[in-house]
């Protein structure tokens, strides 16, 4: 199944590895940041509702 | 020519601070802004000076007629008093600074570096700068901060002289200067907490 990459196997694999890693990191950070923002928002909305 | 402010709304940091401010300032008159810290005195003065756009309302009679004096007097520490005044005179098209030096008894300090002046002397130089600009409407933000009693008296006298000369002034201050001027308490104009008035945060509320 694994295609024959010849002597440049390292370059090709690391290119794919680095790229997918970077994309995954960007995605992960974005999701974590959004989750924190949603929590802060819910907190702020409750607070304004309580003493609004 | 009077300064007319109608139904002015001003914001600070995207949040409305004052709404519906209406005031009229005739030549020879002074107006003292009262209100707690953060009430928006400085924001109002800066808006009238044209340093920031109002959210709503109009300001007439301020274009090219106001001179704005904040805490810092706009004096360069490494230049002498006369050099500072001559610079600001040239920027505003004027050239003669002798009248201003005389008015605030700055003759002896003429060649002293502005950095070496005391707070009172620095304020007198700041006032001289205002006078040199030949602008009729003075906007003064906490002008008597860090001044001792006789410096305050001198300041009040200077403002009186300016008014007598047909000028006008709006002062934001807590100290009673003994000026015969109306006072405007800004607390009633305070923007309600949920007031919007097109402030930039409104889109998010």
């Amino acid at each position: 199944m694994m295609p024959e990459l010849g002597k440049y196997a390292f370059e090709v694999l690391s290119a794919y590895g680095v790229s997918l890693l970077l994309l995954a990191a960007l995605l992960g950070l974005s999701i974590a940041r959004d989750r924190r923002a949603r929590a802060d928002l819910r907190h702020a909305e409750e607070e304004t509702r309580r003493n609004g | 020519m009077t300064l007319l402010v109608q139904n002015l709304t001003v914001a600070r940091g995207g949040v409305p601070v004052l709404t519906g401010v209406t005031l009229r300032l005739d030549a020879g008159k002074a107006l003292i802004l009262r209100g707690p810290n953060g009430a928006g005195k400085t924001t109002l003065l800066r808006t009238i000076a044209g340093l920031q756009p109002p959210l709503r309302g109009t300001i007439d009679g301020a274009e090219d007629r106001v001179a704005y004096g904040a805490h810092a007097d706009g004096l360069k520490a490494m230049l002498s008093v006369s050099e500072n005044l001559r610079f600001w005179a040239r920027v505003y098209g004027e050239h003669d600074i002798t009248a201003a030096l005389a008015a605030y008894a700055l003759e002896p300090l003429r060649d002293r570096l502005a950095g070496t002046l005391s707070a009172g002397q620095k304020r007198r130089a700041g006032l001289a700068r205002l006078m040199v600009t030949q602008r009729p409407v003075w906007l003064l933000d906490e002008p008597t901060v860090s001044l001792d009693t006789d410096a305050v008296a001198m300041f009040a006298g200077a403002v009186d002289a300016h008014l007598a000369g047909g000028g006008s002034a709006i002062l934001a201050t807590h100290i009673d200067l003994g000026l015969q001027a109306e006072t405007l308490d800004l607390t009633p104009y305070r923007a309600a907490p949920d007031a919007r008035h097109g402030a930039s945060d409104e889109a998010f509320l």
Partner: protein
Amino acid sequence: MIALLLRDLRLALRAGGGFGLGLAFFLILTVLVPFSVGPQSTLLGTIAPGILWLGALLACLLSLDRLLALDFEDGSLDVLATAPIPLEGALAVKGLAHWITTGLPLVVAAPALGVLLNLPGAGYGWLVVSLLLGTPALSMIGVFGAALTVGIKRGGLLLSLLVLPLYVPTLIFGAEAARRGAAGLDPATPLLMLTGLSLGCIALLPFAASAALRMNLR
């Protein structure tokens, strides 16, 4: 506006005005280069134009954050913004004052430092010409960067981060012109590009800088 220029020049010459700052930095940098790359004069000769241009560029960068920050602190900027003179004109004059107090001395000092780096004979004239044509762009871009970061605490580092990428075209054309001059080739094309770049900066950047400054004063 002339008054502003004269005031800034007088201020720069006074003690603490930072007149010699850029010059001293340029000298120190040039002296450090042989310590880092070794004393072989042939090597030094080839990299001399580039090093001298880089030194001049960094010396310009060094004196930028004082350009507007001092006026911001003592209230002069607020008064200047409400003064009758156009803010664009005032900022163009600021750039001119920076160029006269920092750019020109670098141009004058460059040949002397070229001797330290064993710059080939033909290179001196073209080095001075390329610096003369390039430093105005450096000053004007610097004024724009200073206007962007004037309100920010410790804005000096951010100023460098914003301004250095903007310096890239000027550095490439300037150093290329100096290098071709030193190698005896014809530096006409890079010099023309450099001049065009400088003129463009002088003409357009004051408007961007004054827009940024108004936003900061708001």
